[in-house]
Amino acid sequence: MNHMTVAASEQSFQAVFNHLRDGFHETASGGGDFGPFSASYDVGVRLEGGTIDLQNNNTVLLSELDIVYDPLILRLGIDIPEICVGGFCIIPSPFGCILRAPRICIFSADPDIQIDLDLSGLIESEISGTFSIDTRYFVDPGRPAGMSDHDAQDADVPNKWQLFLNPGWLDIDLIDIADTVGNILDAAIDAAIDGLLGWLPGWARSLIRAILGPIVALVRAILDIADDIQEWLSNLLGISLGLFNTVVTLVADYFASRYPFLEFEDPIQVLDPGVNLIAVKVPIRDLDVLVTDDEMVVTANVGA
Protein backbone atom coordinates (compact mmCIF):
# COMPACT_ATOMS: atom_id res chain seq x y z
CA MET A 1 0.00 0.00 0.00
CA ASN A 2 1.51 3.35 -1.01
CA HIS A 3 1.67 6.06 1.60
CA MET A 4 0.48 8.80 -0.73
CA THR A 5 -1.94 8.82 -3.62
CA VAL A 6 -2.67 11.84 -5.74
CA ALA A 7 -5.13 11.60 -8.59
CA ALA A 8 -5.95 14.23 -11.17
CA SER A 9 -9.02 13.99 -13.34
CA GLU A 10 -8.76 14.33 -17.08
CA GLN A 11 -10.07 17.86 -16.74
CA SER A 12 -7.37 18.72 -14.22
CA PHE A 13 -4.77 17.17 -16.42
CA GLN A 14 -6.09 19.25 -19.31
CA ALA A 15 -5.77 22.38 -17.17
CA VAL A 16 -2.19 21.54 -16.26
CA PHE A 17 -1.45 20.77 -19.89
CA ASN A 18 -3.00 24.07 -20.98
CA HIS A 19 -0.74 25.91 -18.60
CA LEU A 20 2.27 24.11 -19.98
CA ARG A 21 1.12 24.65 -23.55
CA ASP A 22 0.69 28.37 -23.02
CA GLY A 23 4.29 28.66 -21.90
CA PHE A 24 5.56 27.36 -25.22
CA HIS A 25 7.02 29.99 -27.48
CA GLU A 26 9.96 28.89 -29.53
CA THR A 27 11.79 30.25 -32.54
CA ALA A 28 13.67 28.52 -35.28
CA SER A 29 15.19 29.24 -38.63
CA GLY A 30 16.41 27.21 -41.53
CA GLY A 31 17.16 27.38 -45.21
CA GLY A 32 18.50 25.68 -48.26
CA ASP A 33 19.70 26.16 -51.79
CA PHE A 34 17.56 24.61 -54.47
CA GLY A 35 19.39 25.48 -57.65
CA PRO A 36 17.72 28.42 -59.33
CA PHE A 37 16.39 29.68 -56.05
CA SER A 38 17.20 29.64 -52.39
CA ALA A 39 14.78 29.73 -49.52
CA SER A 40 15.02 30.38 -45.83
CA TYR A 41 12.59 30.93 -43.04
CA ASP A 42 12.35 32.47 -39.62
CA VAL A 43 9.55 31.20 -37.52
CA GLY A 44 8.10 31.78 -34.10
CA VAL A 45 5.79 29.08 -32.89
CA ARG A 46 3.06 29.09 -30.27
CA LEU A 47 0.52 26.47 -29.40
CA GLU A 48 -3.22 26.72 -28.99
CA GLY A 49 -6.05 24.37 -28.35
CA GLY A 50 -5.36 20.70 -28.06
CA THR A 51 -7.47 18.06 -26.35
CA ILE A 52 -6.11 15.64 -23.80
CA ASP A 53 -7.54 12.15 -23.59
CA LEU A 54 -6.20 9.84 -20.90
CA GLN A 55 -5.89 6.27 -22.10
CA ASN A 56 -6.13 3.01 -20.26
CA ASN A 57 -2.80 1.86 -21.63
CA ASN A 58 -0.90 4.34 -19.49
CA THR A 59 -0.64 6.94 -22.20
CA VAL A 60 -2.01 10.37 -22.86
CA LEU A 61 -3.49 11.10 -26.28
CA LEU A 62 -3.13 14.60 -27.56
CA SER A 63 -5.34 15.72 -30.43
CA GLU A 64 -5.54 18.79 -32.55
CA LEU A 65 -2.94 20.93 -30.89
CA ASP A 66 -2.91 23.97 -33.14
CA ILE A 67 0.37 25.41 -34.18
CA VAL A 68 0.36 29.15 -34.50
CA TYR A 69 3.10 30.47 -36.72
CA ASP A 70 3.73 33.88 -35.32
CA PRO A 71 5.64 35.03 -37.25
CA LEU A 72 6.57 32.96 -40.27
CA ILE A 73 8.75 34.78 -42.71
CA LEU A 74 9.73 32.93 -45.84
CA ARG A 75 12.55 34.44 -47.84
CA LEU A 76 13.04 33.40 -51.44
CA GLY A 77 16.15 34.32 -53.33
CA ILE A 78 15.61 34.05 -57.04
CA ASP A 79 17.98 34.24 -59.96
CA ILE A 80 16.34 36.38 -62.57
CA PRO A 81 17.78 35.32 -65.90
CA GLU A 82 20.07 37.64 -67.73
CA ILE A 83 18.46 39.65 -70.47
CA CYS A 84 20.52 39.76 -73.59
CA VAL A 85 19.91 40.82 -77.16
CA GLY A 86 21.45 39.61 -80.37
CA GLY A 87 22.76 36.12 -80.75
CA PHE A 88 20.57 35.49 -83.76
CA CYS A 89 21.82 33.80 -86.90
CA ILE A 90 22.66 36.15 -89.75
CA ILE A 91 23.77 33.64 -92.38
CA PRO A 92 22.13 30.27 -91.88
CA SER A 93 23.13 27.19 -93.82
CA PRO A 94 22.00 23.62 -93.97
CA PHE A 95 25.11 22.81 -91.95
CA GLY A 96 24.47 25.32 -89.21
CA CYS A 97 24.82 29.01 -88.72
CA ILE A 98 27.75 30.46 -90.58
CA LEU A 99 27.53 33.91 -89.11
CA ARG A 100 25.88 34.73 -85.82
CA ALA A 101 25.35 38.12 -84.26
CA PRO A 102 27.06 38.63 -80.93
CA ARG A 103 25.01 38.41 -77.77
CA ILE A 104 25.01 41.52 -75.68
CA CYS A 105 23.56 41.47 -72.20
CA ILE A 106 21.73 44.53 -71.11
CA PHE A 107 20.31 43.45 -67.75
CA SER A 108 21.15 40.99 -64.99
CA ALA A 109 20.49 40.82 -61.28
CA ASP A 110 23.31 39.81 -59.04
CA PRO A 111 23.03 38.17 -56.65
CA ASP A 112 19.34 37.19 -56.39
CA ILE A 113 16.26 39.21 -55.96
CA GLN A 114 14.86 38.57 -52.55
CA ILE A 115 11.21 38.16 -51.85
CA ASP A 116 10.06 38.21 -48.25
CA LEU A 117 6.72 36.58 -47.64
CA ASP A 118 4.98 37.10 -44.36
CA LEU A 119 2.99 33.93 -43.95
CA SER A 120 2.05 34.60 -40.33
CA GLY A 121 -1.40 33.29 -39.68
CA LEU A 122 -1.84 31.88 -43.18
CA ILE A 123 -0.78 28.35 -42.47
CA GLU A 124 -2.82 26.08 -40.26
CA SER A 125 -1.32 22.95 -38.94
CA GLU A 126 -1.99 20.65 -36.05
CA ILE A 127 -0.05 18.24 -33.94
CA SER A 128 -1.44 15.01 -32.59
CA GLY A 129 0.34 12.33 -30.74
CA THR A 130 0.63 10.16 -27.69
CA PHE A 131 2.72 10.63 -24.60
CA SER A 132 3.78 8.41 -21.82
CA ILE A 133 4.64 9.91 -18.48
CA ASP A 134 8.27 9.92 -17.59
CA THR A 135 9.28 10.10 -13.94
CA ARG A 136 12.68 11.61 -13.25
CA TYR A 137 14.63 12.52 -10.17
CA PHE A 138 16.54 15.69 -10.78
CA VAL A 139 19.72 16.48 -8.93
CA ASP A 140 20.76 20.04 -9.56
CA PRO A 141 24.26 20.02 -11.05
CA GLY A 142 24.99 23.14 -9.05
CA ARG A 143 24.43 21.36 -5.76
CA PRO A 144 27.71 20.44 -4.05
CA ALA A 145 28.05 16.92 -2.73
CA GLY A 146 27.19 16.65 0.94
CA MET A 147 25.05 19.78 0.97
CA SER A 148 22.10 19.45 3.36
CA ASP A 149 18.56 19.63 2.02
CA HIS A 150 17.87 22.81 3.95
CA ASP A 151 21.02 24.45 2.62
CA ALA A 152 20.10 23.29 -0.86
CA GLN A 153 16.68 24.90 -0.53
CA ASP A 154 18.28 28.15 0.59
CA ALA A 155 20.73 28.03 -2.32
CA ASP A 156 17.92 27.22 -4.77
CA VAL A 157 19.51 23.93 -5.83
CA PRO A 158 17.14 21.42 -4.29
CA ASN A 159 16.58 17.96 -5.69
CA LYS A 160 13.27 17.53 -7.47
CA TRP A 161 10.85 14.95 -8.61
CA GLN A 162 9.71 15.74 -12.13
CA LEU A 163 7.08 14.28 -14.40
CA PHE A 164 7.48 14.82 -18.12
CA LEU A 165 5.29 14.08 -21.08
CA ASN A 166 7.41 11.81 -23.19
CA PRO A 167 6.18 11.69 -26.80
CA GLY A 168 5.66 8.27 -28.31
CA TRP A 169 4.75 9.57 -31.70
CA LEU A 170 3.85 13.02 -32.97
CA ASP A 171 2.20 13.80 -36.23
CA ILE A 172 1.94 17.17 -37.78
CA ASP A 173 -0.80 17.76 -40.28
CA LEU A 174 -0.85 20.66 -42.60
CA ILE A 175 -4.49 21.60 -42.59
CA ASP A 176 -4.72 24.60 -44.76
CA ILE A 177 -2.79 27.27 -46.49
CA ALA A 178 -4.87 30.34 -46.99
CA ASP A 179 -5.89 31.12 -50.55
CA THR A 180 -4.42 34.54 -50.19
CA VAL A 181 -0.89 33.20 -50.13
CA GLY A 182 -0.87 33.19 -53.92
CA ASN A 183 -1.80 36.83 -54.06
CA ILE A 184 0.73 37.64 -51.41
CA LEU A 185 3.46 35.96 -53.41
CA ASP A 186 2.25 37.75 -56.50
CA ALA A 187 2.39 41.14 -54.86
CA ALA A 188 5.76 40.41 -53.31
CA ILE A 189 7.22 39.46 -56.68
CA ASP A 190 5.88 42.60 -58.29
CA ALA A 191 7.28 44.68 -55.50
CA ALA A 192 10.67 43.02 -55.76
CA ILE A 193 10.85 43.57 -59.50
CA ASP A 194 9.71 47.15 -59.12
CA GLY A 195 12.46 47.65 -56.64
CA LEU A 196 14.94 46.14 -59.03
CA LEU A 197 13.80 48.06 -62.10
CA GLY A 198 12.25 51.07 -60.52
CA TRP A 199 15.10 53.39 -61.22
CA LEU A 200 15.24 52.58 -64.93
CA PRO A 201 13.38 54.72 -67.46
CA GLY A 202 9.84 53.63 -68.11
CA TRP A 203 10.46 52.24 -71.59
CA ALA A 204 13.37 50.14 -70.32
CA ARG A 205 11.24 48.73 -67.50
CA SER A 206 8.50 47.88 -69.97
CA LEU A 207 10.99 46.27 -72.31
CA ILE A 208 12.64 44.19 -69.60
CA ARG A 209 9.29 43.13 -68.26
CA ALA A 210 8.17 42.21 -71.74
CA ILE A 211 11.32 40.22 -72.37
CA LEU A 212 11.01 38.48 -69.06
CA GLY A 213 7.38 37.83 -69.70
CA PRO A 214 4.80 37.88 -66.97
CA ILE A 215 6.96 38.17 -63.90
CA VAL A 216 4.72 35.99 -61.80
CA ALA A 217 4.82 33.24 -64.41
CA LEU A 218 8.57 33.59 -64.68
CA VAL A 219 9.11 33.36 -60.96
CA ARG A 220 6.65 30.52 -60.78
CA ALA A 221 8.74 28.70 -63.34
CA ILE A 222 11.92 29.42 -61.44
CA LEU A 223 10.38 28.25 -58.20
CA ASP A 224 8.81 25.28 -59.98
CA ILE A 225 5.41 26.10 -58.56
CA ALA A 226 3.26 24.58 -61.33
CA ASP A 227 -0.47 24.96 -60.78
CA ASP A 228 -0.97 24.68 -57.08
CA ILE A 229 0.86 27.13 -54.90
CA GLN A 230 -0.46 25.60 -51.73
CA GLU A 231 1.00 22.25 -52.61
CA TRP A 232 4.24 23.88 -53.66
CA LEU A 233 4.46 25.82 -50.41
CA SER A 234 3.60 22.73 -48.43
CA ASN A 235 6.42 20.83 -50.10
CA LEU A 236 8.85 23.70 -49.79
CA LEU A 237 8.21 24.28 -46.12
CA GLY A 238 7.67 20.69 -45.18
CA ILE A 239 10.02 18.65 -47.29
CA SER A 240 12.66 20.99 -48.65
CA LEU A 241 13.08 23.21 -45.63
CA GLY A 242 11.98 20.71 -43.03
CA LEU A 243 9.97 23.33 -41.16
CA PHE A 244 7.35 20.91 -39.91
CA ASN A 245 9.94 18.45 -38.68
CA THR A 246 11.61 21.29 -36.84
CA VAL A 247 8.32 22.28 -35.22
CA VAL A 248 7.56 18.72 -34.15
CA THR A 249 11.02 18.43 -32.67
CA LEU A 250 10.63 21.69 -30.78
CA VAL A 251 7.32 20.56 -29.33
CA ALA A 252 8.61 17.12 -28.43
CA ASP A 253 11.72 18.52 -26.80
CA TYR A 254 9.71 21.08 -24.83
CA PHE A 255 7.41 18.52 -23.29
CA ALA A 256 9.91 15.69 -22.98
CA SER A 257 12.96 17.46 -21.67
CA ARG A 258 12.54 21.08 -20.80
CA TYR A 259 9.31 21.63 -18.97
CA PRO A 260 7.89 19.04 -16.63
CA PHE A 261 4.15 19.17 -16.13
CA LEU A 262 4.56 18.33 -12.48
CA GLU A 263 7.51 19.15 -10.31
CA PHE A 264 8.14 19.36 -6.60
CA GLU A 265 11.17 19.51 -4.38
CA ASP A 266 12.44 16.53 -2.54
CA PRO A 267 12.25 16.52 0.42
CA ILE A 268 8.88 18.27 0.22
CA GLN A 269 7.97 20.95 2.74
CA VAL A 270 5.28 20.17 5.31
CA LEU A 271 5.74 23.00 7.81
CA ASP A 272 6.93 26.48 6.93
CA PRO A 273 10.03 27.84 8.62
CA GLY A 274 9.56 30.16 11.58
CA VAL A 275 11.63 32.47 13.67
CA ASN A 276 14.71 30.43 14.46
CA LEU A 277 12.91 27.33 13.25
CA ILE A 278 13.85 25.35 10.15
CA ALA A 279 11.20 24.26 7.67
CA VAL A 280 10.04 20.71 8.21
CA LYS A 281 10.73 18.69 5.06
CA VAL A 282 9.70 15.14 4.32
CA PRO A 283 11.47 12.87 1.81
CA ILE A 284 9.36 11.34 -0.93
CA ARG A 285 10.33 8.01 -2.39
CA ASP A 286 9.14 5.53 -5.00
CA LEU A 287 7.22 8.01 -7.13
CA ASP A 288 5.18 6.27 -9.79
CA VAL A 289 2.48 7.24 -12.24
CA LEU A 290 -0.42 5.35 -13.72
CA VAL A 291 -2.76 6.67 -16.37
CA THR A 292 -6.24 5.28 -16.74
CA ASP A 293 -9.19 6.30 -18.84
CA ASP A 294 -10.43 8.58 -16.09
CA GLU A 295 -7.43 10.00 -14.32
CA MET A 296 -3.73 10.18 -13.75
CA VAL A 297 -2.72 8.60 -10.46
CA VAL A 298 0.59 9.40 -8.79
CA THR A 299 1.71 7.24 -5.90
CA ALA A 300 4.62 7.68 -3.57
CA ASN A 301 5.96 6.74 -0.18
CA VAL A 302 7.13 8.93 2.65
CA GLY A 303 10.78 8.21 3.23
CA ALA A 304 12.02 7.17 6.61
Partner: protein
Protein backbone atom coordinates in the same frame (compact mmCIF):
# COMPACT_ATOMS: atom_id res chain seq x y z
CA UNK B 1 -14.20 3.50 -9.19
CA UNK B 2 -11.96 6.42 -10.02
CA UNK B 3 -10.55 8.54 -7.25
CA UNK B 4 -11.72 11.67 -9.04
CA UNK B 5 -15.27 10.55 -9.72
CA UNK B 6 -16.66 13.51 -7.78
CA UNK B 7 -13.80 15.92 -7.76
CA UNK B 8 -10.96 17.22 -9.89
CA UNK B 9 -8.04 16.32 -7.66
CA UNK B 10 -7.80 13.65 -4.99
CA UNK B 11 -5.07 13.38 -2.41
CA UNK B 12 -4.64 10.81 0.32
CA UNK B 13 -2.17 9.94 3.04
CA UNK B 14 -2.11 6.48 4.57
CA UNK B 15 -1.66 6.16 8.31
CA UNK B 16 1.76 4.56 7.76
CA UNK B 17 2.72 7.66 5.83
CA UNK B 18 1.36 10.10 8.36
CA UNK B 19 3.22 8.39 11.15
CA UNK B 20 6.41 8.86 9.19
CA UNK B 21 5.50 12.48 8.68
CA UNK B 22 4.94 12.84 12.43
CA UNK B 23 8.34 11.31 13.05
CA UNK B 24 9.97 13.85 10.71
CA UNK B 25 8.17 16.71 12.42
CA UNK B 26 9.33 15.48 15.81
CA UNK B 27 12.93 15.33 14.58
CA UNK B 28 12.93 18.69 12.82
CA UNK B 29 10.72 20.65 15.21
CA UNK B 30 11.55 19.08 18.61
CA UNK B 31 10.60 22.20 20.49
CA UNK B 32 6.98 21.49 19.56
CA UNK B 33 7.02 18.28 21.56
CA UNK B 34 9.45 19.11 24.38
CA UNK B 35 8.85 21.75 27.04
CA UNK B 36 10.83 22.59 30.11
CA UNK B 37 12.49 25.25 32.16
CA UNK B 38 15.81 26.80 31.39
CA UNK B 39 17.53 24.20 33.57
CA UNK B 40 16.63 21.47 31.07
CA UNK B 41 17.56 23.65 28.08
CA UNK B 42 20.98 24.14 29.61
CA UNK B 43 21.34 20.58 30.86
CA UNK B 44 19.45 18.38 28.40
CA UNK B 45 20.95 15.37 30.14
CA UNK B 46 18.42 15.93 32.92
CA UNK B 47 15.48 15.35 30.60
CA UNK B 48 13.38 12.26 31.04
CA UNK B 49 14.04 11.16 27.49
CA UNK B 50 16.93 12.21 25.29
CA UNK B 51 15.66 14.44 22.51
CA UNK B 52 16.42 13.12 19.06
CA UNK B 53 16.83 16.01 16.64
CA UNK B 54 17.71 16.39 13.00
CA UNK B 55 21.34 17.58 12.59
CA UNK B 56 20.11 20.74 10.92
CA UNK B 57 18.34 21.74 14.17
CA UNK B 58 21.65 21.92 16.01
CA UNK B 59 23.56 23.33 13.00
CA UNK B 60 21.20 26.24 12.73
CA UNK B 61 20.88 26.83 16.45
CA UNK B 62 17.19 25.92 16.61
CA UNK B 63 15.90 25.18 20.11
CA UNK B 64 15.27 21.54 20.96
CA UNK B 65 13.04 22.53 23.84
CA UNK B 66 10.49 25.27 24.38
CA UNK B 67 11.61 27.08 27.50
CA UNK B 68 8.89 27.72 30.04
CA UNK B 69 8.84 29.49 33.37
CA UNK B 70 9.16 27.36 36.53
CA UNK B 71 5.92 26.19 38.11
CA UNK B 72 5.31 28.61 41.03
CA UNK B 73 5.43 27.13 44.54
CA UNK B 74 2.12 28.10 46.09
CA UNK B 75 2.42 30.43 49.02
CA UNK B 76 5.74 31.87 48.03
CA UNK B 77 4.07 34.69 46.20
CA UNK B 78 5.66 33.58 43.02
CA UNK B 79 9.14 33.92 44.40
CA UNK B 80 10.03 30.32 43.86
CA UNK B 81 9.06 27.71 41.34
CA UNK B 82 9.70 24.14 40.32
CA UNK B 83 11.87 23.31 37.35
CA UNK B 84 9.93 20.90 35.21
CA UNK B 85 9.82 19.24 31.82
CA UNK B 86 7.06 17.73 29.75
CA UNK B 87 7.91 15.65 26.71
CA UNK B 88 5.78 13.95 24.12
CA UNK B 89 8.21 11.20 23.31
CA UNK B 90 5.98 9.14 21.08
CA UNK B 91 3.00 9.96 18.91
CA UNK B 92 1.10 7.50 16.79
CA UNK B 93 -1.94 8.01 14.61
CA UNK B 94 -4.47 5.38 13.62
CA UNK B 95 -7.10 6.20 11.04
CA UNK B 96 -10.49 4.59 10.99
CA UNK B 97 -10.94 1.64 11.07
CA UNK B 98 -8.64 1.52 14.06
CA UNK B 99 -6.26 -1.38 13.64
CA UNK B 100 -2.91 -0.12 14.90
CA UNK B 101 -3.76 0.05 18.59
CA UNK B 102 -6.81 -0.45 20.77
CA UNK B 103 -8.60 2.44 22.41
CA UNK B 104 -9.29 2.35 26.15
CA UNK B 105 -12.94 1.77 27.12
CA UNK B 106 -13.30 5.39 28.22
CA UNK B 107 -13.02 6.48 24.60
CA UNK B 108 -15.82 4.18 23.50
CA UNK B 109 -14.09 1.86 21.06
CA UNK B 110 -14.23 0.89 18.30
CA UNK B 111 -12.97 3.99 16.59
CA UNK B 112 -15.88 5.67 14.88
CA UNK B 113 -15.96 6.48 11.15
CA UNK B 114 -14.29 9.73 10.13
CA UNK B 115 -12.19 9.63 13.29
CA UNK B 116 -8.55 9.13 14.00
CA UNK B 117 -7.03 7.79 17.19
CA UNK B 118 -3.94 9.16 18.83
CA UNK B 119 -1.61 7.31 21.12
CA UNK B 120 0.99 9.38 22.90
CA UNK B 121 3.63 8.62 25.45
CA UNK B 122 4.17 11.63 27.63
CA UNK B 123 7.04 11.86 30.05
CA UNK B 124 7.29 14.58 32.63
CA UNK B 125 9.15 15.50 35.72
CA UNK B 126 9.43 18.20 38.28
CA UNK B 127 12.73 18.83 39.93
CA UNK B 128 12.26 18.24 43.59
CA UNK B 129 14.64 20.28 45.72
CA UNK B 130 16.71 18.52 48.31
CA UNK B 131 16.24 19.25 52.02
CA UNK B 132 19.24 21.47 52.33
CA UNK B 133 18.07 23.59 49.44
CA UNK B 134 14.67 24.01 51.01
CA UNK B 135 16.12 24.95 54.38
CA UNK B 136 18.06 27.73 52.71
CA UNK B 137 14.93 29.03 51.12
CA UNK B 138 12.97 28.87 54.35
CA UNK B 139 15.64 30.92 56.01
CA UNK B 140 15.49 33.36 53.14
CA UNK B 141 11.77 33.69 53.43
CA UNK B 142 11.98 34.19 57.20
CA UNK B 143 14.61 36.83 56.89
CA UNK B 144 12.59 38.89 54.56
CA UNK B 145 11.46 41.85 56.65
CA UNK B 146 7.82 42.67 57.22
CA UNK B 147 7.98 45.51 54.76
CA UNK B 148 9.07 43.21 51.98
CA UNK B 149 6.36 40.76 52.87
CA UNK B 150 3.70 43.50 52.87
CA UNK B 151 4.96 44.63 49.48
CA UNK B 152 4.79 41.06 48.19
CA UNK B 153 1.22 40.81 49.43
CA UNK B 154 0.24 44.05 47.76
CA UNK B 155 2.05 43.49 44.43
CA UNK B 156 1.13 39.87 43.99
CA UNK B 157 3.36 37.11 42.59
CA UNK B 158 6.41 38.19 40.67
CA UNK B 159 7.33 36.28 37.51
CA UNK B 160 9.29 34.40 36.66
CA UNK B 161 9.80 32.51 39.82
CA UNK B 162 13.26 31.58 40.89
CA UNK B 163 13.80 27.86 40.37
CA UNK B 164 14.22 25.81 43.47
CA UNK B 165 17.80 24.76 43.72
CA UNK B 166 19.64 21.53 43.79
CA UNK B 167 17.06 18.99 42.92
CA UNK B 168 16.70 15.91 40.87
CA UNK B 169 13.98 15.42 38.29
CA UNK B 170 11.50 12.75 39.20
CA UNK B 171 10.51 11.41 35.78
CA UNK B 172 7.42 9.48 34.96
CA UNK B 173 5.85 8.45 31.67
CA UNK B 174 2.23 7.77 30.89
CA UNK B 175 0.34 6.51 27.91
CA UNK B 176 -2.29 8.84 26.61
CA UNK B 177 -4.97 8.09 24.04
CA UNK B 178 -7.04 10.51 22.11
CA UNK B 179 -9.71 10.66 19.46
CA UNK B 180 -9.82 13.43 16.87
CA UNK B 181 -11.41 14.44 13.63
CA UNK B 182 -10.03 16.44 10.73
CA UNK B 183 -11.31 19.63 9.18
CA UNK B 184 -10.18 22.24 6.71
CA UNK B 185 -8.88 25.41 8.20
CA UNK B 186 -7.56 28.66 6.78
CA UNK B 187 -8.52 31.22 4.16
CA UNK B 188 -9.90 30.07 0.82
CA UNK B 189 -7.15 28.95 -1.47
CA UNK B 190 -4.76 28.37 1.43
CA UNK B 191 -6.63 25.71 3.29
CA UNK B 192 -4.84 23.23 5.51
CA UNK B 193 -6.00 20.03 7.13
CA UNK B 194 -6.03 20.37 10.88
CA UNK B 195 -6.64 17.83 13.60
CA UNK B 196 -9.34 18.68 16.14
CA UNK B 197 -9.04 16.78 19.40
CA UNK B 198 -12.34 15.39 20.64
CA UNK B 199 -11.29 13.44 23.65
CA UNK B 200 -8.26 12.41 25.62
CA UNK B 201 -7.78 9.59 28.08
CA UNK B 202 -4.91 8.78 30.38
CA UNK B 203 -4.93 5.16 31.39
CA UNK B 204 -5.03 4.19 35.04
CA UNK B 205 -4.31 7.24 37.06
CA UNK B 206 -6.07 7.52 40.41
CA UNK B 207 -7.96 9.23 41.81
CA UNK B 208 -10.24 10.10 38.89
CA UNK B 209 -9.99 13.78 39.61
CA UNK B 210 -6.25 13.67 39.24
CA UNK B 211 -6.63 11.78 36.00
CA UNK B 212 -9.16 14.24 34.71
CA UNK B 213 -6.97 17.18 35.65
CA UNK B 214 -3.98 15.69 33.95
CA UNK B 215 -6.06 14.89 30.88
CA UNK B 216 -7.24 18.47 30.84
CA UNK B 217 -3.70 19.71 31.15
CA UNK B 218 -2.48 17.58 28.28
CA UNK B 219 -5.49 18.15 26.06
CA UNK B 220 -5.20 21.87 26.51
CA UNK B 221 -1.51 21.76 25.75
CA UNK B 222 -2.22 19.77 22.60
CA UNK B 223 -5.04 22.04 21.54
CA UNK B 224 -3.21 25.29 22.16
CA UNK B 225 0.41 24.46 21.46
CA UNK B 226 0.91 21.41 19.31
CA UNK B 227 -2.01 20.84 17.00
CA UNK B 228 -2.35 24.45 15.72
CA UNK B 229 1.28 24.31 14.62
CA UNK B 230 1.05 21.00 12.78
CA UNK B 231 -1.60 21.63 10.14
CA UNK B 232 -1.04 19.79 6.87
CA UNK B 233 -0.97 21.96 3.74
CA UNK B 234 -2.96 20.81 0.68
CA UNK B 235 0.15 21.30 -1.44
CA UNK B 236 1.76 18.47 0.47
CA UNK B 237 -1.26 16.18 0.05
CA UNK B 238 -1.37 16.87 -3.71
CA UNK B 239 2.40 16.86 -4.26
CA UNK B 240 2.13 20.47 -5.31
CA UNK B 241 0.07 19.63 -8.39
CA UNK B 242 -1.86 22.86 -8.25
CA UNK B 243 1.16 24.97 -7.46
CA UNK B 244 3.00 24.11 -10.63
CA UNK B 245 0.12 24.56 -12.98
CA UNK B 246 -1.14 27.78 -11.42
CA UNK B 247 -4.32 25.96 -10.55
CA UNK B 248 -6.46 27.13 -7.66
CA UNK B 249 -7.55 24.09 -5.69
CA UNK B 250 -10.36 24.42 -3.21
CA UNK B 251 -12.08 21.73 -1.17
CA UNK B 252 -14.96 20.04 -2.95
CA UNK B 253 -18.19 21.05 -1.22
CA UNK B 254 -19.97 18.50 0.89
CA UNK B 255 -22.71 16.74 -1.00
CA UNK B 256 -24.41 13.41 -1.28
CA UNK B 257 -21.50 12.25 -3.41
CA UNK B 258 -18.90 13.76 -1.10
CA UNK B 259 -20.38 13.43 2.40
CA UNK B 260 -17.07 14.03 4.16
CA UNK B 261 -14.21 16.24 3.12
CA UNK B 262 -11.58 15.82 4.41
CA UNK B 263 -12.40 12.23 5.04
CA UNK B 264 -10.88 9.51 7.16
CA UNK B 265 -11.59 6.11 5.75
CA UNK B 266 -9.77 2.94 4.89
CA UNK B 267 -6.79 3.86 7.05
CA UNK B 268 -6.30 7.03 5.04
CA UNK B 269 -6.80 10.72 5.28
CA UNK B 270 -8.32 11.84 1.97
CA UNK B 271 -9.03 15.26 0.56
CA UNK B 272 -11.08 16.03 -2.50
CA UNK B 273 -10.51 19.26 -4.33
CA UNK B 274 -12.01 21.16 -7.22
CA UNK B 275 -9.88 23.24 -9.47
CA UNK B 276 -10.32 26.72 -10.73
CA UNK B 277 -7.92 27.74 -13.44
CA UNK B 278 -6.26 31.02 -12.59
CA UNK B 279 -6.73 33.74 -15.24
Amino acid sequence: MAFTNHCDVFGSLHEAGINRVVRHIMLQRPSLFNYGTRLFAQQPGLLCEKIEAHPEVEDRGNPILTVENPLPVPGTNGLYGFDFCVQIVKLEIDFHPGNVFALPPELNPPLQPQRLALRLTVCAAIVCPDDRGLEDIVKDLETRDRDDQRKDDEDGPRLPPTPLPRGKPACFCIDVFGVAQVTFDGPSGSERVCIKLMGLEIVDVRPDGLETSLECFLATTLRLAVLPRTKIPLDFLTLELGKYGSLALTPTPISANVPHNPAIEDDQLAVRLDLTVAP
